[in-house]
Symmetry: C2
Subunit: 226 residues, 2 copies
């Protein structure tokens, strides 16, 4: 499943789909925690608040359910997915440990000069955001961090790896947001190690750097459960 905003590139834009509009609206509200995890989502209420009929709303919710952002029970309706618990977070990190380490290695082997430049600039932007700043500053950091990881995943030569990781990133993002995570200088240092390995085209080193980064990242998050 792709991000909702990758329709760019289509010169001929067909008339927009209402279902798509609703999807984006709900996606935004879920990602910003305006709709609380676990809370009920009534179709009829959305009909009134959004001013569109049930049909496109149900379709949008169906797609969100496929992404795991929403859960549906027959005759009971939709709910926003629950917050990640410890076990689930652990599962996600086990997956990332496999897929992102793979992606880092393959990207290190295939990356072009232009890609390196783009990635480096993302990295620099992140370093420009001070650690321990406000929550909105973290939003900017998180956006770059997701782009940084996604950049390598997308260019690892395996689209399934990218799609699968994308599914998880959404939930990690929500988790971070909920626990008021901050940008850290540690993460920047770990990214730097990864950048160097990638720039050298050293796949083994890139894999190791990514592994180390994910392990540290995980232990930083686990503090939230204490």
């Amino acid at each position: 499943m792709r991000r909702p905003d990758d329709t760019a590139g289509e010169m001929l834009r067909r008339p927009i789909s209402l279902a798509n509009e609703v999807y984006e609206a709900l996606y935004g509200q879920l990602m910003s925690l305006k709709i609380e995890p676990g809370s009920r989502i009534s179709v009829d209420q959305l009909v009134r608040s959004l001013g569109v009929s049930q049909t496109p709303i149900r379709e949008a919710l169906s797609r969100l359910e496929a992404q795991g952002l929403v859960v549906k029970q027959h005759l009971l309706g939709f709910r926003a997915a629950d917050q990640l618990d410890r076990a689930r977070l652990n599962e996600i990190y086990e997956m990332r440990m496999m897929l992102e380490v793979f992606a880092a290695g393959r990207f290190a082997e295939r990356r072009s000069k232009a890609e390196l430049k783009e990635l480096r600039s993302l990295d620099n932007e992140m370093k420009g955001i001070d650690a321990g700043q406000s929550r909105s500053a973290y939003g900017e950091f998180a956006k770059r961090d997701a782009a940084f990881h996604g950049f390598m995943a997308k260019r690892c030569g395996n689209e399934l790896v990218f799609d699968t990781l994308n599914r998880f990133h959404i939930h990690v993002h929500l988790f971070r947001l909920h626990f008021h995570a901050r940008a850290t200088t540690d993460a920047n240092k770990e990214h730097e190690q990864l950048m160097i390995a990638v720039e050298n085209g050293n796949a083994a080193a890139a894999e190791e750097a990514m592994r180390h980064h994910l392990e540290r990242s995980k232990s930083r998050f686990e503090g939230a459960f204490e």
Copy 2:
């Protein structure tokens, strides 16, 4: 308030969902290739042939789209997903190589006596089929093979790994069916190696056996592209 006849514990049977019925019907037709890969799927035609309205049909198709069995284009409708091409098959095997090797290792560490017994009986059933070369016999083999792999994935301790693999397995199944894949005796030998490692609780050996099995499996399938 409880109903008079729900003493069966979890089997709370709510009135069936039409959307669900349609989903199952279409799923079956797709999995048996009654609906050809790449062919168009018209909602209005299904309304006439299934005798239900558009709404549950659209919802069923939405779910199939999330599973990757169907693709939708705005204003153009739904199509059955294309057959796997070589690049895509390769991507799936790269993923399986990571996730199933992981699953085999974790399962070898955690498996109970009862689980071992169940897995062994599945394995034996497969070996009994092995001689038969007919197409229907292969169907039986494929069913067990899927159960065999799924059994370990489901018990590896990581539900995301299981869910992700499940998504791919559907496509592998279709691919196999289309190319009338055979060669079951080799697979049985490889399974035997895996069983031994699992029974010994030797995670490293189980991982290696799974890795070897997948490599061989992949090269068997690649013959279809020659």
